[in-house]
């Protein structure tokens, strides 16, 4: 397959090659060279494969055309196993897995599903599998899945069968922390940002949009809130015990005590031994604010992060503030931020969702994000300049970077 040049940033997009629709059981046809972007969309999963210089990206897919793909993740432990969190229109949610990177697909024999409730108030069912996290490097085959409503599931066989994490799903406070089932978010209220401490498989975090951040030190048997320092924008108490909405949380792989989150209201950082969130978004320009969904960290520099601010004024459009798209980067842990918009159109009105920004591990970090109007943007100079890598795709839910040659 020949490589196609990427389109350039700016108002005019170059026509993209027409993607060839493939049957879910047919082989995808891209090489396993350097790195690829796994793009989950409202209508299937796409793959953008980079050449060695990352100046050319080849689009392939969609696989699972017509299926809602919330998350596509490659197992970094074997760099072969690929899991998809899938839902099809009004059919039930499931997980598809491939052990040959898209060559063939198998549906999970036992997808994530809640156990039969003993209490009618808890009668709830998994509506979508939203988030996938590979387990600890020392636990081959272990994966975690976050669902909507807020369920946490674990697989020990590479995603084929899933069991509920009882310490969360059956927690006595689950109904309190997850709120009124009639007041769900339009796109669901998921468990997301499942993080495993690279030093200790028993030490985990996740977040929900109804309660906040949770931490476990016994591999999910018990969970405690970790919300101190966050500020609630509404309600009589600005610092309730729970009721926060972290949109995306991540920890630094080389400094696992350092957590960052892009909250519904604010950008925060926590040094875990201090157990207090610090609102580093206060250092963003006032006219831009610190509302957003996604945050990505430099894999080798714990003080460098990227965010894509959203408009949180009046009715909360959650599009680019003033319609002017820009990434903001910090090099000092959030004490200051730099606006980066070279290559972006003057105006755009899209949203970048929580799973839709990712970084690669190249010598000069590549940063990528996807938009709700189906564009994929990339920078291979850590955000200084941007190119549109693909356009005219469906609504983008997620982007993950997959490295094959490490």
């Amino acid at each position: 397959m020949s490589e196609q040049p990427v389109s350039q940033g700016g108002r005019a997009f170059e026509p993209m090659p027409e993607p060839a629709a493939i049957d879910v059981n047919r082989r995808t046809t891209f090489s396993l060279g350097g790195l690829a972007l796994l793009v989950g969309t409202k209508k299937g999963v796409f793959f953008l494969t980079a050449n060695a210089s990352r100046k050319r990206f080849q689009l392939s897919g969609p696989a699972f055309l017509g299926h809602i793909v919330h998350h596509a993740v490659l197992d970094p432990r074997d760099r072969r196993t690929l899991l998809l969190a899938i839902r099809t229109g009004h059919l039930g949610p499931t997980v598809f897995r491939s052990t040959d990177f898209g060559g063939t697909w198998q549906e999970a024999a036992k997808p994530p599903a809640f156990s039969k409730p003993k209490d009618a108030r808890r009668s709830t069912v998994v509506e979508q599998v939203f988030w996938l996290t590979p387990g600890h490097a020392a636990e081959a085959g272990v994966w975690y899945a976050g669902t909507s409503p807020e369920g946490l599931f674990r697989s020990e066989d590479g995603g084929d069968t899933w069991q509920g994490v009882a310490g969360w799903n059956d927690h006595p406070n689950w109904i309190v922390w997850t709120g009124d089932m009639t007041q769900r978010n339009p796109d669901g209220s998921p468990v997301h940002s499942i993080l495993v401490d690279p030093r200790d498989a028993r030490h985990m975090y996740f977040a929900t949009g109804s309660a906040g951040v949770f931490e476990s030190i016994d591999q999910g048997a018990h969970w405690n809130l970790l919300n101190t320092g966050m500020r609630s924008p509404a309600g009589p108490d600005p610092f309730p015990e729970y009721g926060y909405d972290p949109h995306c949380m991540t920890l630094h792989p080389l400094a696992p005590d350092l957590l960052y989150q892009q909250n519904h209201c604010g950008i925060y950082r926590m040094y875990r031994p201090e157990a207090r969130w610090i609102r580093i978004g206060d250092n963003m320009p006032r006219d831009v604010g610190d509302i957003g969904f996604a945050i990505a960290l430099h894999p080798r520099d714990p003080k460098t992060a990227w965010v894509f601010p959203m408009d949180g004024t009046d009715v909360w459009p959650r599009t680019c503030p003033a319609g002017r798209p820009a990434i903001y980067r910090t090099r000092d842990g959030g004490d200051s931020w730099m606006r980066l918009d070279r290559g972006f159109p003057e105006h755009a009105w899209y949203t970048v969702l929580r799973q839709s920004m990712a970084v690669d591990e190249s010598a000069t970090i590549g940063v990528y994000f996807g938009t709700t109007n189906g564009e994929i943007w990339g920078s291979i100079d850590e955000g200084d300049t941007w190119r549109c890598l693909a356009a005219h795709l469906p609504h983008v839910y997620s982007i993950e970077v997959a490295h094959f040659n490490r």
Binding site: V24, T88, H90, L91, T94, A113, S115
Partner: protein, 86 residues
């Protein structure tokens, strides 16, 4: 008995729009269907044993909501998947 399969579920039946399955009730029929085509039931029936929204089962052209509805070998069973949204 023969069971009509909607297009959205035909990836489980190798493209067949009508398949054979057995059972004395719709619930048993769906269990047998799942044994023959693993995974198909969970796409239609959630973990609370309730038909998912927009999935309909017709027995002899009548929509049924009770999965314990009795069926016999001569019945015509059809599964339909409604669509809405974009």
């Amino acid at each position: 008995m023969q069971v009509g399969i909607p297009s959205v579920l035909q990836s489980y039946t190798s493209g067949a729009s009508v398949v054979e399955a057995n059972g004395n009730t719709v619930a048993a029929l769906l269990m047998d269907l799942d044994a023959r085509y693993p995974g198909i039931r969970f796409r239609m029936v959630n973990e609370a044993d309730t038909l998912r929204p927009h999935v309909r089962v017709f027995v002899n052209r009548e929509s049924i909501s009770d999965l314990e509805c009795a069926v016999s070998p001569d019945d015509e069973v059809m599964i339909l998947q409604a669509l809405s949204g974009g």
